[in-house]
Amino acid sequence: MGTDGPPRGGRHLGTRLASVVALTLVVVGGGAGMVAVSETAHAYREESLQRAAAMLTMLAGPAALAVAESSFDKLDGYLAEAVRPGGQDVQLVAVATFDAAGRAVAASTDALVPPTVPGQRPEASQDFVDYAVRSPHSMWRRVEAPTGAHLMVSVPAVSGLRWGTLVGVFDTGQVEQRIDRSLRSVFAVVFVAAALLAAVTYAAFSRMAVQPMQELARAAEAIRNGVRGVRLNWRRNDELGQVAASFDHMAAEVERYTSGLQQEVADRSAEVEARNRDLQVVNAQLRVANAELDRLAHVDPLTAVGNRRSFDQLLAHVAGHGEQRKWALLMCDIDHFKRINDGWGHPMGDLVLREVARLLHGELRGNDRVARFGGEEFAVLLDGAGPDTAMDVARRLVQVIANHDFEALAVVPLGRVTVSIGVAVHPDDGIGADQLLERTDAALYAAQAGGRNRVERWLREPQAAVGGG
């Protein structure tokens, strides 16, 4: 259950913040760094320009004197000496002195041409020289050449009067390298600082916010999973603390509510169980009552043998087995029963009925059934019996009843109680329950007509009774 749900956001949040911090630092630091580098570059270049100008100015004094006196050999030597490499940032590579008319009168090179940036032609410097010679100011110009960064500077050669102009070409490659290096170190510093600060921010934020939030997420999940007693119990003054306090409060509320519900459910369940138990009792009672009812529905209350309804059902059931099935139906009628009822009263009549039923029931075996078919009529079903068996049983029944001492159970002299029995056999005497009933009835009638206390089997035509006794 805890596998789906909201994604783990804590880690991503920390990473995102670290990225934002790093990016901000890179942008801000990079921007500041670039401003700083730009300023530094400007300062370096300005300084290198000042130094170049200072170097030329130092040469300008003697140059002025030399031009004023027209003594150029020493100046030539001076200038040649000045361009010797000295390992400086700003290295003079070529210099020449021009008189007031703009003619070169001394130079560091063999040819008295304007000093040139290495790799360029002398003509490229000519316009600068032309400006410089005419201008009362010191001038400078940067030249980017394949051989590197160079600086052309001019300084008026003054000694009282402006005697001429000194023009020099300086190699400032070292300065540019220094600027590049400082640029790179600025960026390195900025990136390192950004990375460090991002890491620090990530760690700090992780500790301050991400881990608490992960804990919060886990607690929420625990509650989802039904764990009880989940409380954060943070003592923090900030927003996370408020969230935690609300969370704890809500968790308590939820638990309280859930407990209440559970209690109610338990109560209701108990109630339901009690009801169930009652129901079960009632059901048992009902079953008992039903059984009783069933029994009552199928049992004759007086004689305790089956009643008409049950016999009809039985008959239908047996008859349903088909035309081939062998069974026999006996209809027994207590002879002159009305006389007993009239003579001795209904209670005596009941007694006789009961006894007769008992006796009938006692003589029957296995699948045989006896039922009280009417007021004094009993039906007997002999399942699987053929004609002979049926007649035998019928005769025995008549005999048993005739021989039974009924007076023993009554205080009054009952005399003899006898029955008449009509017999019909299936399928010999008929097919189906209705036919058998009808023919058994007919046979009973025949038996009664034949003098009672006897058995008569159905015959197609009414005939004289076979049995006797």
């Binding site: 100011h137 009282g160 009067l161």
Partner: protein, 333 residues
């Protein structure tokens, strides 16, 4: 991505490509030349037919006149008036001549100028000289190269060659230095003579007639250049005694404003930068030209002299007296 940013910022750091350097003096434009410098009838009083140009002696007069003839001719032509060269007998002499208006223009040594100015405040300063390319020169006490003296104290009892009582580099400044160093300039040396010119003092030193000389750096340079190679190797600077501006071009008080202006133009426009100028100045005693000047140029000299006046009043006579010249050196022809 990082290097792209580097490149991007490298372009951001591209500088301006050219410009002017700040903190540079602007030089005054060259003065007008040509017809504008000619004196017009109203510039000078009608009675004035020529201008007298006074100069201090630095060598034999005949040679000096020969050397300066082109200059005189040039100035006359530019101004459109006759110019007469007047060679004074001494530094002090020239001061008197300009203050008493016996010359119209004078090329005065710095001390002479300060003195003249103090006598005649209305004196005009038209320009100052540049010699051998420099507007300033130094005062030296020099000895022969192989002389054992190495400090001022080593000159005790030796023979000193001065130039002139009014010479800044040739007397006054070195004397002040000796005084400041704790020596008594009048009694340190065994003997002291005034030779009248820097060249004469140098010759005396070289010949062994003196052991030390006070001269200007300019004179020393010139002598070493024009003399024999021997001469060039013959001297050594014992002590430096300060810097002075070169000679002042003074115009007498009372010169009309237009005339003064044109005289200024003519001299300030004459220098070694032009072919013509080089020719004119070729034989002068290494004058390279003239530059604009104001009083502040000679202020240092004035203060120095005031200082000396309070400390060594005996050093500063009102006027120079006669000179003693070394044997073989004459002033006139």
């Amino acid at each position: 991505m990082a290097w792209a940013a580097v490149l991007a910022s490298a372009t951001c750091t591209q500088p301006e490509q050219s410009g002017l350097l700040t903190g540079v003096r602007a030089y005054p434009p060259d003065p007008p030349q040509g017809a504008v410098t000619r004196l017009l009838p109203g510039d000078l009083p009608a009675t004035v037919r020529k201008l007298r140009l006074g100069i201090t002696p630095y060598t034999q007069e005949s040679r000096q006149r020969r050397d300066l003839a082109p200059l005189v001719a040039y100035v006359g032509e530019a101004l459109g008036i006759e110019v007469e060269l007047v060679v004074s007998t001494s530094y002090g002499d020239l001061v008197t001549e300009i203050t008493e208006e016996r010359v119209d223009i004078a090329l005065l040594s710095p001390v002479s100028y300060v003195q003249a100015r103090s006598i005649q405040p209305a004196l005009h300063l038209a320009a100052r000289a540049i010699s051998q390319g420099s507007p300033e020169y130094s005062s030296y006490i020099i000895v022969r190269r192989d002389d054992p003296a190495h400090t001022l104290g080593d000159l005790r009892g030796r023979r000193m060659a001065w130039v002139d009582r009014l010479s800044g580099s040739g007397y006054l400044y070195p004397r002040h230095v000796l005084h400041e160093a704790g020596f008594d300039p009048d009694h340190l040396f065994g003997s002291a003579r005034f030779y009248g010119t820097h060249e004469a003092a140098l010759v005396a030193l070289l010949r062994g007639e003196a052991d030390a000389a006070a001269v200007s750096s300019g004179a020393l340079n010139l002598t070493c250049k024009s003399g024999e190679a021997q001469t060039a190797r013959g001297f050594r600077v014992l002590h430096k005694c300060g810097k002075l501006p070169y000679d002042a071009l003074a115009v007498r008080a009372g010169m009309g404003r237009e005339a003064l202006k044109k005289i200024t133009w003519v001299f300030q426009g004459l220098n070694n930068r032009s072919e013509r100028g080089r020719k004119v100045l070729a034989d002068t005693w290494a004058i390279s030209g003239w530059m604009p000047a104001d009083e502040s140029a000679y202020e240092g000299v004035r203060r120095h002299l005031d200082d000396m006046a309070t400390k060594m009043p005996a050093a500063l006579p009102d006027r120079a007296t006669s000179l003693e010249l070394p044997a073989g050196v004459s002033r006139g022809d």
